[in-house]
Amino acid sequence: MYGYAGKIARINLTDRTVTQIPTSKYVPENIGGRGVCNRIFWDEMRPGIGALEPGNMLIYMTGATTGTGIPTGGRSVFTGISPNSFPEQYAWSGIGGMVGAELKFAGWDGFIIEGRADSRVYIYIEDDRIEFLDASPLWGLLVHPCQRKLEELHGDGVQSMVIGPAGENLMRNASITTSNDNVAAKSGFGAVFGSKNLKAITIRGTGDVRPYDIEKIFDLRLKMGSPYMRPSPLHREATHGMDGNEIPVEGGWLRGQVACSHGCNQHCNRLMIDMKSAFGDERINQVEKCVGIFAYGFQEDCSWTPIQNYETERNHFLPCKMLSREEPEPDTGDPHFSELFTPVRGDVTNYWKPDFDKGSVMMDMCNEYGIDKWDVIVWYMTWLSMAKKEGLLDDLDFGMEVDVESEAFVRHFLDMITYRRGKYGSIFAEGMARAIRKLGKEKYGDTIYRGRYSQMTGERIDVPVSLETAWGHSYHWQGRGFEATINKPGWIATSLELMNSSRDVQTVAHHHEKFENYLEYKDDPCHSPLLVEGVAFDENKAEIKDSVTCCDWQSPDLYWPDMEAEMFTAATGIPMTAAQLSEAAERSRLLFRAILIRDFGRCRDMEVGAIFPTMQYPDPFGQTVGWDEWNDLVDIYYKRRGYDIKTGVPTRPTLEKYGLGDVASALGCAAN
């Protein structure tokens, strides 16, 4: 088999057994990655299992491109019941690093972790051998010391995925970390590791991955992410931060750029060198991507420039060029140039003043404890800031005066929740959605914060103190909260994507749309089949990215629709077109939806009920969406997807069209 390693390991922690499943049972039909995970989960799981119960199954899969040298193929994915979704639901979490490739060198395309070990263990995989080893020397270690210890135990060159104390203590937003600080964070699968008494998985592979078309791999390396192949020196930066959060840094700070995953030809992660550590005097290096920049200062929300979502043939570029500051020069001759490149300034938020060292400590604690940074920066800390200003915290004794601008408080709070110290430690370790409900949502979640102002209208923007959106996640490019400054057609699309998901989806389905389409529907987005087609396209591409595999920061390229298919064929030799990949993505999404329906009660009322209230707060332009217009949009979307309009359940003809007649029967879909 070209591209694939050929087998998947079923690892049962309860009885400490390993069995093999041929990958060919699932591919090429389900492509790889998330597509295969969805099929396995549908086939093997049943309703009524909790995320932290031994019955939860954590599935990890690479793609056919992983370990082949096809850029971005190093990405891989976990799926399972997410403890961080609210309510608990089936979800996924992508991860980069070297670990996926190493697993394939060991001869495995993925693994399924079942059961719960009766004592603390870690799994050691060396080629065909899979062992359950005593994790006593590792338990309690922070993330980097744990990775180091595993190298000491098994030699240089092993690749590990580990959890920190947050995962051990079943913090619901605990992450799993691998090299270059890559994490699977969004779904809280670190807590699933912890619940299974599993501290780490360490891999050494000595075998081969054989791709089909090496010349094509070289072509892809040249074309994907072009222009590139030039030196990337360390830079001394005088300031840090952006959009009103700039901090002058005394003596400057040193920035490098590193790649996230095996074989990638980009280097979009920022390496911040010689930063303040939360643990001892030694200076440390840390990786920053995306949300991390707000740890250092958050007085103003992220700005938005339409080119981030809307593209023309003359102006489109990869997000991975952004953090390495290698964007191509815009084409000013584009008739849409000024509309595409005029930034919309973010709201003034007044959460915390810039503080370089405190930000670094916050980042380091998230990295070492293994907590989802997103939740800490965008949700816990913003809530503490807003709730304090609204006088909501007077009755809550955290053992220290709440002050998000104080490094001592940040340390205290993150310690408290990671180790579940005291009454509030345990409450907040359950994640913000659950903590807020425990405290009383009306007061602690829904109270309006009166310190946020739109820079577009000058008006106060009344959003609540808890930046919660659907499914127990916080706003992300959704017109409110964090990265709020996207216009209404944009947040209508991203909210529809979130509605159909079980977690924040903007990490893998960043909304991309041709500007010409946007012009068609911008005045009435909720009645536009074109907008719905764009949403379906981005959702399908997200599925494809996590299955082929490739990266959200390089895909999709709207003007190179065959890219992912070309990657797949180069790896496997299996002819594939963009249309065929789309079909596989539709199948994978149907399985995902079927799982949500069968095991988690998903239906139209549930998902509309989850998303609609999140759009009732004003966006920076004062806009909201009405009940009727939103439901009209949902009708159009369900029709496009082939779901029953009333229930949201895929119809039998839809399921049968994608070879899922068995799923239709299991869901009780009527024959028609």
Binding site: F105, P211, M229, L234, Q257, V258, C264
Partner: protein
């Protein structure tokens, strides 16, 4: 690491002030792809050693010692370990018996010869950088490093 020897032309990592290694492992990947048509840690002729904590990575490659102790120790020299007219020691794998003496003889730590002791005897071979002998563009790792942090010195 100074061994007090003299070296022939070899692949070396540039200092981070010129270009910081992105830690992508593309050099290893490209190396085994051009030599063997596969990607494999057992077949790469140069190695990226990753530092988990600093996330600054080091690339190790054969420095082509002009006195080639690896060549000298090979019991199959001329069949396995060979020398080009300008003194580049390279391994003809078809003649290699996988004894590992070249790996032992390498003066560097870590040794610059890739030798996987745990590999089955029948397929166990030593592998080292041959500067992509006969490749008109020169070493493929240098050509394809996305950040141009590899050079021939």
């Amino acid at each position: 690491m100074d061994t007090g020897r003299s070296y022939g032309p070899h692949v070396a990592q540039a200092p981070p002030e010129y270009s910081l290694c992105a830690g992508c492992n593309s050099c290893e990947i490209i190396c085994s792809l051009v030599h063997d048509g596969v990607v494999s840690p057992s077949r790469r002729r140069l190695a990226v050693r990753r530092d988990i904590r600093t996330m600054m990575h080091t690339v190790y490659s054969c420095q082509h010692c002009t006195d080639h102790p690896c060549y000298d120790k090979c019991p199959k020299k001329g069949t396995a370990m060979k020398l080009t007219p300008d003194g580049v020691a390279y391994i003809d794998e078809s003649g290699c018996i996988g004894c590992g003496l070249c790996h032992k003889a390498c003066v560097f730590d870590p040794p610059r010869i890739n030798y996987v002791k745990s590999a089955p005897k029948e397929t166990r071979r030593a592998r080292k950088c041959d500067m992509c002998l006969g490749r008109p563009e020169g070493p493929a790792c240098v050509q394809w490093c996305p950040v141009k942090c590899l050079t021939v010195v």
